[in-house]
């Protein structure tokens, strides 16, 4: 079992949830939250190396966090009406 802390200030909870969904075929996950961090305990369920699963999980969570932040920062384009 591997336990990783993800700072709540740097990682999005939604991104971690989506990473858990994606990697649920390869490992089981226990989630916990403190004021400073999301705590994720990873236990492999298949043939793949637990460390590799944990590293890939971290990358996925980070990528999803960054993409989420970018989509929030970018305002939705206003529809073009053609009015002058």
């Amino acid at each position: 079992m591997i336990e990783i802390d993800y700072s709540t200030d740097l990682y999005s909870g939604t991104a971690i949830d989506s990473a858990v969904q994606v990697y649920s075929d390869y490992a089981s996950f226990e989630l916990d939250k403190t004021n400073e961090a999301y705590k994720v305990r990873i236990t492999k369920t298949g043939e793949f190396d637990e460390k590799t699963i944990a590293d890939e999980f971290s990358n996925y969570a980070l990528g999803a966090t960054i993409e989420e932040r970018q989509s929030e920062a970018r305002p939705a384009p206003e529809p073009v009406t053609g009015e002058r």
């Binding site: 700072s7 590293d55 980070l62 990528g63 053609g82 009015e83 002058r84």
Partner: protein
Amino acid sequence: MSDISTSHSGDALTLEFDEGLYPKDAVYGAAYIFIDRCYVHLDRPSPGRISVRLKLKEGVKRALDDLAGEFENEILGQAWRRQIIDENRELIEQVTTQALAGAAGPPGLDDLMSMDIDDDTAFEDPLGIAMSWEDKYKKKSKPSGESEEEEPEEPSPSGEPPTGEGKSSAAGSPR
């Protein structure tokens, strides 16, 4: 403490940044670029500082120290790019708005149909182009008492021109 500190731990490298110099968005931007080559993990070791742990993926033939230098260059570029965007945001928005307005072209039939046009909001028509022919050329009503004098005389049955007897001439001059 310097603005960037580097430490090795086994097969991984940890870089620590001052958030005042390298904002969180710049760290995210650089981390996103390295995600294909490395396993990246972010942490906050102390308030105002962000640490980045880089671990090479299998099959990537690079030295960890080179990677540290590349990451530092990338984060500097990201921070600088964000500063340029912030400084020129207004100009970028203006240019984009103008480009979109130009690309929209003239309003289509649907747009015209959906416009709220009534007597108050209709366009001005100084030349009277929008006026109908009947409205523009219809006979004006004449004041009472003048109608008989101004009516043209009909020719007599013999074909002679009208004499004008009993009626004053148009100019009113004696004959």
